[in-house]
């Protein structure tokens, strides 16, 4: 090894062990150092001791060939085991999924597709609060509507808190009107149709009661999801502001990206406006503009934001 500077005693020791011929100056320097440094002296001894052993033995060639074969086989086997373990894991997971489907039947979680079908229900207009009925196929209601964690966060973020009052939990809305008598043949679609007819007839109380029944009896149906916006709009019209806010918040918690999300945001913002909660209204309108910049409610929201800024 070529040195740009003179080697340290450690390197001189190593060079000696390799049989390198040191120059007279280097040898003298090393000897002087080793006489005064016990640690380097023992190291030099140890280097010399180990340099004397480890020489090749006569049967090394066969020994190495045998060990190398085994080592390479072991290395390849290890890699195969890794692949086999990964494949086994995939098979076990697939088997578990199949077994689950066979035993419990296909799970019907609230999917994007279903929410999209909810969007097929015409939304209530911001000016006229009458959802036109649309026949939809009834679906078996799962035990509990499944919520996405982000959904819950979003719901919490816009949870309706009426000013000066204690908010009712959105899961258990107080029933402001008596429920309709139960009928075995009533489907969510027909309930929605009845509510639209009552609304068209100007009977807001009856329309609200029908929609509340829909929410109570078919909580996981697509119609029920869409009906939260209609219900909120009806409650807003009837002056039940805290309940209206709760209904809009419920829709946004179930379907934050649903087709009626901008209607729900607008309804929630309007509710805050009428309650005089400026900060909450500002946040909701900003959110509406951020997510739906070309919404029909955008112009109104911008105007309200300007008013609130003054």
């Amino acid at each position: 090894m070529a040195f740009t500077t003179s080697p340290c005693p450690d390197d001189l020791n190593a060079l000696v062990s390799r049989g390198t011929q040191l120059s007279d100056l280097q040898r003298q320097r090393l000897a002087t150092h080793l006489r005064s440094c016990a640690e380097c002296a023992v190291t030099a001894l140890a280097i010399g001791d180990f340099h004397a052993i480890g020489r090749p033995e006569p049967d090394d060639a066969q020994r190495m060939a045998r060990a190398i074969r085994a080592a390479l086989r072991r290395e390849r086997t290890g890699r195969r085991w890794l692949v086999a373990a990964a494949a086994s894991l995939v098979l076990v997971c697939a088997g578990a999924a199949v077994a689950r489907i066979l035993y419990h039947g296909p799970v019907a979680p609230r999917s994007r597709t279903q929410l999209g079908r909810a969007a097929a229900v015409p939304p209530s207009s911001p000016t006229s609060a009458s959802p036109p009925p649309k026949p939809l196929v009834r679906e078996p209601p799962p035990a509990q509507p499944k919520r996405h964690p982000q959904t819950q966060t979003a719901a919490k973020a816009i949870a309706f808190v009426p000013l000066g009052t204690k908010a009712a939990p959105t899961d258990e809305l107080p029933r402001s009107h008596p429920a309709e008598p139960a009928s075995a043949a009533v489907s969510p679609a027909s309930l929605l149709r009845q509510a639209a007819q009552a609304r068209a007839a100007g009977d807001l109380i009856r329309a609200i009661a029908i929609l509340e029944r829909l929410e109570r009896e078919y909580p996981s149906s697509a119609e029920a999801t869409a009906a939260w916006v209609s219900l909120g709009r009806l409650r807003l019209t009837s002056g039940a502001l805290p309940l209206a806010g709760a209904a809009f918040a419920r829709y946004l918690s179930i379907a934050p990206d649903g087709a009626l999300a901008e209607d729900a945001l607008e309804g929630a913002a309007e509710t805050r406006q009428r309650l005089g909660a400026g900060a909450e209204e500002r946040a909701l309108r900003a959110e509406l503009l951020r997510r739906f910049p070309s919404s029909p409610y955008a112009a109104r929201s911008r105007e309200r934001l300007r008013e609130l800024a003054r």
Binding site: D10, A14, L45, I47, F50, G54, R66, I68
Partner: protein, 212 residues
């Protein structure tokens, strides 16, 4: 077969950028045949390291060497040419052997260890040394091996590469992937521990002569 050419260039660390020198590319993963060739080429050095760490007559030499060869075959795909391939293989063998020693620390009994030391001293040391000097040398080797079991891993690695393989500071730094100052610091602490271990075992340091 750039890897083979690279493997044959042993004994000095690479100097990137030197004209005419072929460095393995960063993504140049060697094939199975190349790995086998590299293992065969570096096997003598690895076997020597294993023998020095465990002792030439240790019954686990073959097993540990096989383990080291397998570890080298796995590790060589990550070799980036910071050191020579032989030093890289030596380090893999050293770490494997040190781990095996620490794993089986309770196995060798004092009496059998002494017998092995005597046999080693009788058969494998320098022919010019007297039997007494050969025995002393084997005792010192055994002291150092036991010290390697007790030192922190980084210090044990630096001391073993320096004392057993005669690597210089720059080569140890390249093989271990650390700076020379770090190697100096580790080696200084390890050498102090070695001196204390020799003194505790009653070895006379005045046996060192200028001729080595």
């Amino acid at each position: 077969m750039r890897w083979i050419r690279w493997a044959r260039r042993t004994g000095q660390p690479p100097r990137p950028g030197k004209p005419g020198e072929v460095e393995p590319a960063a993504r140049d993963v060697p094939s199975r045949a190349v790995v086998e060739a590299l293992v065969r080429e570096t096997a003598p050095a690895m076997l020597r390291v294993v023998r020095r760490v465990l002792g030439p007559s240790h019954p686990d030499v073959d097993d540990v060497f096989q383990e080291a060869a397998a570890a080298f075959a796995r590790a060589v795909v990550r070799f980036r040419g910071e050191s020579s391939i032989v030093h890289f293989a030596c380090r893999v063998a050293l770490l494997t052997a040190l781990a095996a020693r620490r794993r089986n620390r309770s196995i060798p009994a004092a009496s059998s260890r002494d017998r092995v030391a005597l046999e080693d001293a009788a058969g494998l040391t320098d022919a010019q040394a007297s039997p007494y000097e050969a025995l002393l040398a084997e005792r010192r080797r055994e002291v150092l091996r036991r010290l390697l079991d007790e030192l922190p891993s980084a210090q044990a690695e630096a001391l073993a590469l320096h004392c057993m393989e005669g690597l210089m500071l720059e080569e140890i730094a390249a093989a271990s992937g650390c700076s020379i100052n770090t190697v100096k610091s580790r080696l200084r602490l390890a050498k102090r521990a070695l001196r204390e271990a020799f003194a505790a075992n009653g070895h006379n340091l005045t046996t060192w002569t200028e001729e080595g």
